[in-house]
C-alpha cells in the first residue's frame, strides 16, 4: 500500500482510493533441480500490478521471463516467496485448486493461439465456461466474440480464419470468464505486422474501454512501447520498472523497418559475394 502512495503516477491523483493489486508477488524465487546441480532462474522478484494496468514484462532469452509468466499464470509454483493473485495467496495451492484459479482469474493468450482443432469459434470460447461450470455459455461466448469484432464468425473453424482472427478468438476465450487479468505470451509473435497491429488494437481497446488488466510477456521493444508500463528482467532479477511516457496507439505509427532502425550503424555498403553473381 505504501508503495502505491510513493508512486509518482497520474492515476494516483485521479483516484483517491487505493486500487486493488491484481498481482502482488513478494520476493519470489524459482529454482530448477537438475540432477546434481540446481539452477536458480528467478532470484527474488517483487512486483505489484494493479487493476487496469497494461504491463509488458521484457527480457532477453534466459532472463526468466517465461518462468515468471508461468508463475503469474498459476501454471507453476515459486520455490519461495508469496504470490497474491486478486487477494488470494496462490503460492501454496495444489494443482486442482490452481486449475480453478486459472479458470476464474486468468485469461491466457499464447503466441501460437492454441485453438482446438476443427472446433468452431463459439465452442473455443465456451471452453473456459465449460470447465468453470458456468451456465448461459453460448450467450457469454457470443458477447466475448463480438467484443473482439468476430460476431460474424461464430461458426468458423480455425482453418477458416486468418492468423489475426484466430488470435482474436483466443482473446475472446481469455476474456469470457471475466478474469482478473489477461496474460499474453508474445501475442503478436506469430502474426504479420498488419494482423499484429489489429490484435494490438483489440488489447488496447479492452484495456482502455473495459479497464481490463493486461500483462504482456515479450522481447519486442516495439510491442512494449504500446503498453503503459515496462518491467525489465535480466538474469532472474528486475533491472528496471518504468512507466511508458507516451504509449503508442496501435495503427497510428508505422513500425520502422530494420534498415531504418539500424541506420548509422554500418560503416559502408556491403553487397556480399562476387559481383559476377549479380549479373
Amino acid at each position: 500500500m505504501f508503495k502505491w502512495f510513493n508512486r509518482k503516477t497520474t492515476e494516483s491523483v485521479a483516484e483517491p482510493e487505493a486500487p486493488k493489486a491484481v498481482i502482488d508477488i513478494r520476493d519470489i524465487t524459482r529454482t530448477y533441480e537438475m540432477g546434481e546441480f540446481s539452477l536458480q532462474v528467478l532470484k527474488g522478484i517483487s512486483l505489484q500490478i494493479f487493476k487496469g494496468e497494461f504491463v509488458s514484462i521484457m527480457g532477453p532469452s534466459g532472463s526468466g521471463k517465461s518462468t515468471l509468466m508461468n508463475i503469474l499464470g498459476a501454471l507453476d509454483q515459486p520455490t519461495s516467496g508469496e504470490y497474491f493473485l486478486d487477494g488470494v495467496d496462490v503460492s501454496k495451492l495444489g494443482e486442482t485448486t490452481l486449475a480453478g484459479v486459472r479458470n476464474k482469474k486468468i485469461g491466457f493468450v499464447f503466441q501460437s493461439f492454441n485453438l482446438l482443432r476443427r472446433t468452431t469459434a463459439l465452442r473455443q470460447v465456451e471452453l473456459p465456461l465449460v470447465y468453470g461450470g458456468v451456465s448461459g455459455r453460448s450467450q457469454k461466448a457470443k458477447a466475448a466474440l463480438e467484443s473482439v469484432g468476430l460476431g460474424q464468425r461464430l461458426d468458423h473453424l480455425p482453418s477458416e480464419l486468418s492468423g489475426g482472427q484466430q488470435q482474436r478468438v483466443a482473446i475472446a476465450r481469455a476474456l469470457v470468464n471475466e478474469p482478473a487479468m489477461i496474460l499474453a505470451d508474445e501475442p503478436t509473435g506469430n502474426l504479420d505486422s498488419r494482423s499484429g497491429t489489429e490484435v494490438m488494437q483489440i488489447f488496447q481497446q479492452l484495456n482502455r474501454d473495459q479497464g481490463i488488466t493486461i500483462v504482456f510477456v515479450t522481447h519486442d521493444p516495439w510491442i512494449a512501447r504500446h503498453t503503459k508500463r515496462v518491467v525489465m528482467l535480466r538474469d532472474g532479477k528486475i533491472v528496471a520498472d518504468r512507466h511508458v511516457a507516451a504509449p503508442l496507439v496501435a495503427g497510428e505509427t508505422e513500425r520502422p523497418s530494420e534498415a531504418e532502425e539500424l541506420e548509422g550503424v554500418f560503416k559502408e555498403a556491403y553487397y556480399g559475394g562476387a559481383k559476377a553473381e549479380y549479373t
Binding site: G100, L127, V130, Y131
Partner: protein, 410 residues
C-alpha cells in the same frame, strides 16, 4: 464440470479425429465379432451334436446281459422276451424293443457278407427313429414276427457289399442267409453320425426268425432269449426312475440278492451324451478363447492409439489445463473416449458376430446358429472392460501432464 460435459467433450474429440476413431474401433469390432460369432458357431455345433444323440435316443435305455462284477456268481441268466413284456408294463415306459443277434453270412449270387444279424421287433423303427428308405420297401411287421417269416431288411452298406451299389434296389430279390432262402423286403435309409462303427452295415430279420430259425434261443418256461432290450421312456425326466424300476424288476426276476451279483446292465444314452456335450463345450470355450485373444489385441490397439493421441494432443491438454481443466476432467475425457470407442466397437462387433452366424448358418444348414444373450452380454462387458482397462493408463498420463510442459510441447 460434470459427467455430461465430459461426455460432450469426449464425443467432440472423437468427431474431430474421426478416421482414427474408426480405425481404433475396428480392432474391438473384429475381436467382439469373433467372440460372438465363434461362440455362436461353437454353440451351434454343440446343439447339432446333442441333437444327433437325441435322435439316437436320449430317452432310451439299453438293457443287456453282463458278467456279474462280484465274481461269486458265475451263472448268467439270459434276458428273455417275457421279461421284456413285463418291463413294458412298468410305469413311465413307453415301449420296449427287443433284439436277438446271431451271426450270419449273407450270400447273393457270388457276393457274400458276414455280419451280425439283428433279430428285431417291429417297433425298432420307432425306438431308433430309423426307417426304411422310400423305394417301395418296408420294415419287419408284427405279422412277419408271428410267422417267423424268412424276410430281411438290409442296410445300405450291406446292399453295396452284396450288389455293388448302395442305391441298388434289391426289394423282392432272394438271398441266402446261413444257407436258407430269405426275401429282401426293404433297405434302411442312410444313417450317419453318432459314435461307433458304420451303422449301415446291418441286416435285420424278424426276432422270432433269429430265435427259432437261425438259432435255438428257447429257454425253459417257453420264453426266448433276447440279446438286449431298448427301453424307451416317456420323458427324459423319467429316465432315472425307469432305470431303477427296471433294475429292481430284473433283480427279482433273476433272483439277485447281493449287490455285484447283477447279470444285467441298464445303461443310459444320456451318459454318453453328457460326455459328448462336454467335449463340444470345450470346443466352444476354445473358440471363445482364441477370439478373446483377438479382443485383447484390439484392446492393446486402443491403448496404443490412445497413447499416440495423448502425445499428439499434448498442447490441447496443456491448453485445457490452462483454461481451468482439472486432472480429473482430463482423465474422464480420455477415459470416456476410450470407453466409447470400445463400446461402439463392441456394438458393431455384435452385428459382425450376428453376420458370421448368419453366413455360417447359410453355409451349413444343419447348424442352427443363433446369437445367445449371454455371448452378447459377455461381449459388451468385455468391451467396456477393455475400454476402461486399456484407457486408464493413457488417460492417467494425460491427466498428470504438467500444464507448462504440455503447452511448450512441439
Amino acid at each position: 464440470m460434470n459427467l455430461i460435459e465430459s461426455f460432450r467433450i469426449a464425443i467432440n474429440s472423437l468427431m474431430i479425429n474421426r478416421l482414427r476413431a474408426i480405425l481404433t474401433t475396428l480392432g474391438i469390432l473384429i475381436g467382439v465379432g469373433a467372440v460372438v460369432g465363434l461362440t455362436s458357431l461353437g454353440r451351434g455345433v454343440e446343439n447339432y451334436v446333442s441333437g444327433q444323440f437325441t435322435s439316437l435316443g436320449a430317452n432310451t435305455l439299453t438293457v443287456s446281459s453282463t458278467r456279474p462284477s462280484s465274481g461269486t456268481r458265475t451263472v448268467i441268466q439270459p434276458l428273455t422276451d417275457k421279461e421284456a413284456i413285463a418291463i413294458a408294463r412298468l410305469p413311465g415306459i413307453q415301449r420296449v424293443a427287443t433284439q436277438y443277434n446271431v451271426s450270419g453270412t449273407l450270400l447273393a449270387g457270388t457276393e457274400s457278407v458276414s455280419l451280425t444279424l439283428n433279430g428285431v421287433t417291429a417297433n425298432y423303427v420307432e425306438v431308433n427313429e430309423w426307417r426304411p428308405r422310400n423305394d417301395g420297401g418296408r420294415f419287419i411287421s408284427q405279422q412277419d414276427i408271428n410267422d417267423a417269416a424268412r424276410v430281411v431288411v438290409l442296410g445300405e452298406s450291406t446292399v453295396e457289399d452284396l450288389y455293388g451299389d448302395p442305391n441298388f434296389n434289391p426289394i423282392n430279390l432272394s438271398l441266402q442267409i446261413n444257407g436258407r432262402i430269405f426275401t429282401v423286403i426293404g433297405v434302411m435309409e442312410n444313417r450317419s453320425g453318432g459314435a461307433g462303427a458304420d451303422q449301415n452295415a446291418a441286416a435285420f430279420v424278424p426276432i422270432s426268425t433269429a430265435q427259432s430259425r437261425l438259432d435255438n434261443a428257447r429257454v425253459r418256461g417257453g420264453a426266448y432269449k433276447v440279446s438286449q432290450m431298448q427301453v424307451q421312456v416317456e420323458s427324459k425326466d423319467a429316465i432315472e426312475m425307469s432305470m431303477a424300476a427296471i433294475e429292481v424288476y430284473l433283480a427279482g426276476a433273476h433272483d439277485i440278492i447281493y449287490s455285484g451279483d447283477e447279470d444285467f446292465r441298464v445303461s443310459n444314452q444320456g451318459d454318453l451324451l453328457s460326455s459328448i456335450t462336454q467335449v463340444t463345450g470345450i470346443l466352444t470355450l476354445f473358440l471363445a478363447g482364441v477370439s478373446g485373444i483377438s479382443l485383447l489385441v484390439g484392446g492393446i490397439g486402443i491403448m496404443n492409439i490412445m497413447l499416440v493421441s495423448v502425445t499428439e494432443r499434448t498442447r490441447e491438454i496443456g491448453l485445457r489445463k490452462a483454461v481451468g481443466a482439472r486432472g480429473l476432467d482430463i482423465l474422464s475425457q480420455f477415459l470416456i473416449e476410450s470407453i466409447l470407442l470400445s463400446l461402439i466397437g463392441g456394438a458393431l462387433g455384435i452385428v459382425l458376430g450376428w453376420l458370421i452366424s448368419l453366413i455360417g448358418g447359410a453355409l451349413v444348414p444343419d447348424l442352427d446358429l443363433s446369437l445367445t444373450l449371454d455371448s452378447v452380454l459377455l461381449a459388451t462387458g468385455i468391451s467396456s472392460f477393455v475400454g476402461v482397462f486399456f484407457g486408464l493408463y493413457p488417460a492417467n498420463r494425460a491427466a498428470r501432464m504438467r500444464p507448462i510442459e504440455a503447452l511448450r510441447f512441439e
